[in-house]
């Protein structure tokens, strides 16, 4: 379980996060949603420790990310996998090498054969075995996302983080990526947090949804109750598309 406690973050005079708390349960697909500029990505970066919050803490199964020793933080980090908005693949490495990278760096005790098997298993899981020896520049955006997912799960992480996994993808590929994230979460019993503003993802894979508005947690609950929320800001966000009104 991941628990965030009163996270506050400002950049200069601009207060982006104004004290956000919440819990993300094991084995759940948790979604952080909100309009652009509400601090979703900043919150995710605070959760994974890429940004140090001004106040507050993040607890990974009770272990503090910001108050632990360097070695303890490294241990927590090695239990994380992250899919970045732009996939963040290393340009100079092939798809296979990208997925193998964390194993090479962090798993000295594994033999080359074991590492290769693990990489191929991850690539097989995302359906990219045939592209293993291609370079990131040679594959499509959707494939890059899948390589990003393969790299994120190659270490069998306990926690998976996805920053806008559907950005720049067509609707069909978006749904496939959502399904892949959802299936992997169930398969590995991970705690998954997805930042998105795609309502298809919310309705499709969201088991727990946290809605941010103006740097605050405006609403949280399951995806079924989101359509009946009384929060004006959430209703404006959800029903920005007429399709959602028709659904209701």
């Amino acid at each position: 379980m991941i628990e965030i406690v009163n996270i506050k973050k400002a950049f200069g005079d601009r207060e982006v996060l104004k004290g956000i708390s919440g819990r993300f349960e094991n084995g759940n697909n948790s979604l952080i949603i909100g309009a652009s500029g509400t601090g979703k990505s900043v919150l995710l970066k605070c959760i994974v420790g890429l940004i140090q919050p001004d106040e507050g803490d993040v607890l990974f199964d009770g272990r503090s990310l910001f108050k632990s020793s360097v070695n303890e933080v490294k241990k927590i980090r090695r239990e994380m996998g992250m899919l970045f908005q732009g996939s963040a693949l290393f340009d100079s490495l092939s798809v296979f090498e990208n997925v193998r990278f964390p194993l090479d760096m962090l798993m000295a005790e594994m033999s080359d054969g074991e590492k290769n098997d693990q990489v191929m298993h991850s690539l097989e899981r995302v359906g990219l075995t045939p592209a293993a020896h291609k370079m990131p520049a040679e594959i499509s955006g959707g494939m890059r996302k899948r390589v990003g997912i393969a790299r994120a799960i190659v270490m069998n992480p306990k926690y998976l983080f996805c920053d806008e996994p559907n950005s720049g993808l067509d609707p069909m590929t978006s749904i496939k990526i959502d399904e892949l994230i959802s299936d992997i979460t169930d398969e590995f019993n991970m705690t998954t947090i997805v930042v998105t503003h795609d309502m298809n993802s919310v309705m499709g894979i969201g088991e727990y949804v946290m809605f941010l508005h103006e740097g605050l947690k405006e609403w949280d609950g399951d995806s079924n109750s989101i359509l009946h929320s009384k929060s004006q800001a959430l209703r404006e966000f959800v029903f920005a598309s007429k399709i959602m009104e028709k659904l209701l």
């Binding site: 933080v73 980090r77 090695r78 970045f84 963040a88 760096m105 983080f161």
Partner: protein, 245 residues
């Protein structure tokens, strides 16, 4: 951001490359890769620049040395001292600040804005140590080696142009080079090039590592990397000359 904050950030950045670094086994292959990128790939430009500078130095010295009381071999001596003391280390490093510095800042800056550095950090790997330390070590090995090459080719350029134009005979040129040779000058040139290599690699990496924004900012970071490295080289040049000579 004021200058003191910038200096503080620069020194903390340097410290972060050696604090909590990755296991030793990770570095040798990375350092070798960087040695090829920084050193081998810069040999052509260094060879062209130093050979021509050596030729021009020889011709201009010969042109200005018109007194019949001064032996012709003095041209070789002047070329040698100018090359060892200033042209080979400083001029070569200014050229390398342009080539290597902009390359380092561009590469690291682009990794920063495409979140590749964040990806490394999230894995629990010290990104500054993994990415920057091999570049610093490789630069500190290869740039002094390039300066030795530059000094040799510069003197060879002077030798050849002297013979081709008849400005100075090869015998006089070689006699001048050997006359009153101080081995300390070679040590001085290597010390300078080592310090300049450190400045080029760390300043450029620093500028790239803290790039924010997009493609425009990568270009700006590269430009700043080159200008700041050149300024750093010139200041260090003056300080080393004052301290060591």
């Amino acid at each position: 951001m004021n200058i003191i904050q910038n200096w503080g950030k620069y020194f903390l950045f340097l410290f972060s490359t050696i604090r909590n670094r990755e296991p030793f086994r990770v570095y040798p292959s990375l350092i070798l890769d960087e040695m090829v990128k920084i050193g081998t790939n810069s040999m052509v430009i260094v060879a062209i620049v130093s050979t021509f500078i050596g030729m021009v130095t020889c011709l201009q010295t010969a042109d200005n040395l018109v007194s019949p009381l001064v032996p012709m071999s003095v041209i070789g001596t002047i070329c040698r001292d100018m090359t060892l003391l200033e042209l080979a280390p400083t001029f070569t490093c200014v050229v390398l600040a342009g080539k290597v510095g902009s390359n380092l800042a561009g590469e690291i800056g682009s990794m920063r804005i495409t979140e590749q550095i964040d990806a490394i950090d999230v894995m629990g790997i010290n990104s500054s140590s993994y990415l920057i330390l091999p570049k610093i070590i490789a630069a500190c090995i290869m740039i002094p080696a390039l300066c030795i090459l530059a000094a040799f080719l510069s003197l060879m350029g002077g030798y050849l142009i002297g013979e081709i134009t008849g400005a100075i005979s090869p015998t006089d040129f070689v006699a001048g080079i050997r006359n009153g040779f101080r081995p300390f000058n070679v040590f001085f040139a290597l010390t300078k090039s080592f310090v300049f290599a450190f400045l080029i690699s760390t300043i450029s990496s620093y500028k790239g590592y803290f790039t924010l924004g997009g493609a425009l900012e990568i270009g700006q970071a590269s430009t700043k990397a080159v200008t700041n490295s050149v300024i750093g080289i010139l200041i260090a040049d003056l300080i080393l000359a004052k301290i060591m000579i």
